[in-house]
């Protein structure tokens, strides 16, 4: 049942990232247009930049028929800003959704097109590590009453790595939570009230600064079953 796993493995996310557009500078001539399902690309003239899907750019680069223009979000200045931002606050910064996949593929196939290749690679690794530790901290907040998890600023790779754990954990929490049924007691007078815990609680993986968080989480609500409720239920 391999096909029924509900998350993408890294090869599949890499495949998906292949459709992202990227700018290249070809060094060959092709006078006809390439007709793909999602558009026409071409004609190709040497030294004239053109935008193509990533998979095509990498194929051309492997055959040394083009030079890849590194996207803005992979330049040293941008990465250094992002790293500073990640280290200074608890919330996850906004990255390109295919950040890890595209950077890994560019490192593998086009290292010469990147200025200061080693430095960029170290920065990417540092950013990944800082985010990974933030995500791990965020996971610790899952309690036995969590209903859902907010994952708005995760990249695709981080999300797919988190999914198996998070979905099965939340599912088990849901099962345990919903297995309890209200205790039915016979109709004695002066019956002590039974309480069931109900809790509305959304946890965010990305943590806001502490003060904001306390204002956002909703309070615990206790719902009390009385003997009148028993009677209406039995009816």
């Amino acid at each position: 049942m391999y096909n029924l796993q509900n998350n993408f493995n890294p090869q599949e996310t890499e495949f998906l990232s292949g459709d992202e557009p990227i700018k290249i500078i070809p060094n060959f001539t092709l006078n006809q247009k390439l007709v793909f399902l999602n558009g026409e690309y071409g004609p190709f003239q040497p030294s004239i930049p053109i935008e193509v899907p990533l998979w095509l750019a990498l194929t051309l680069r492997r055959q040394e028929k083009c030079q890849i223009t590194i996207p803005v979000w992979l330049s040293i200045e941008f990465l250094q800003d992002i790293l500073k931002e990640e280290k200074s606050r608890k919330k996850l910064s906004k990255l390109h959704p295919y950040f890890s996949e595209i950077s890994a593929q560019l490192f593998e196939h086009a290292p010469n097109d990147i200025n200061d290749f080693e430095k960029v690679r170290t920065l990417v690794e540092d950013i990944w590590n800082v985010r990974a530790s933030k995500i791990r901290e965020g996971i610790k907040d899952i309690t036995n009453t969590t209903y859902c998890l907010s994952i708005s600023d995760l990249t695709v790779m981080e999300r797919e790595l988190l999914k198996p754990y998070a979905t099965s954990a939340l599912k088990n929490i849901w099962l345990i939570f919903n297995s309890g049924k209200p205790i039915k007691r016979p109709n004695f007078p002066n019956q002590p009230e039974t309480t069931t815990n109900t809790n509305t609680n959304t946890n965010t993986i990305e943590e806001e600064p502490l003060i904001e968080k306390e204002q956002e989480t909703t309070k615990r609500t206790l719902r009390k079953f009385t003997t009148e409720d028993m009677e209406t239920e039995q009816n």
């Binding site: 049942m1 007709v35 399902l37 209903y147 998890l149 999914k163 998070a166 979905t167 849901w174």
Partner: protein, 212 residues
């Protein structure tokens, strides 16, 4: 414009593929998208075959290195589309194999399948029933021989309470979900959540929420 239409074909199909991968249920078969993709693959494949023949005939001609180059690129694109199609179809077949009795009993779910998939289901269920009967069902006492008895729990149903990751496509405001107690969530555009599939099921059909 043709190109804008084609951009949505690929991205809608990838969205359908992602939905299918993440949800425990079977979604309606995307006949239009798949026909368009197959048409494109067929036209490209014809051009590729023609080019390959031409290259074979003129083996020592140097001009054909560019033709080979072009053909290789077209081949790669066709391979990528084929992979998507195959993966999509295999996922659906696996789901059909997992819940045959449930689908047969449910008219609505059965209509989500394509004709070929329905034929596959009929054939698979016949084999399945025959195998069960021959292996051990015949030797059980008569009342225990049914394999489609819903009350006794013989029918495997897709578990709608699995948790899935989803993305909100439109501003939906504050939505109330019914649990043991109700809980409210403000659904804003571009937020993503891991949430119980049952809660967001009604939004997926209208494409207000998509699975990621």
């Amino acid at each position: 414009m043709e190109t804008t239409n084609n951009i949505t074909v690929l991205s809608s199909f990838i969205q359908a593929w992602t939905n299918e991968k993440n949800s425990p249920e079977i979604f309606p078969y995307e006949t239009d998208l798949i026909t368009e993709i197959r048409n494109h693959i067929n036209t490209q494949q014809q051009i590729i075959d023609k080019n390959l023949e031409q290259i074979k005939e003129e083996e020592t001609n140097n001009n054909d290195s560019q033709l080979m180059f072009l053909t290789n690129i077209m081949l790669m694109e066709v391979e990528r589309l084929n992979y998507l199609l195959r993966s999509y179809l295999r996922m659906r077949l696996d789901k059909i194999e997992k819940y045959p009795v449930y689908i047969l009993k449910n008219q609505q779910v059965r209509e989500s399948l394509s004709k070929e998939e329905q034929q596959f289901l009929a054939g698979y269920f016949k084999l399945f029933e025959k195998h069960m009967k021959n292996s051990f069902l015949e030797k059980l006492p008569k009342p225990l021989q049914k394999i489609d008895d819903e009350e006794e729990g013989m029918v495997a149903k897709p578990d709608v309470n699995n948790y899935v990751a989803c993305k909100i496509n439109e501003d939906l405001g504050e939505v109330q979900f019914l649990e043991a107690d109700t809980f409210n969530l403000t659904l804003k555009k571009d937020d993503s959540y891991i949430i119980n599939y049952d809660h967001i099921k009604p939004f997926i059909q209208s494409n207000k929420v998509s699975l990621i």
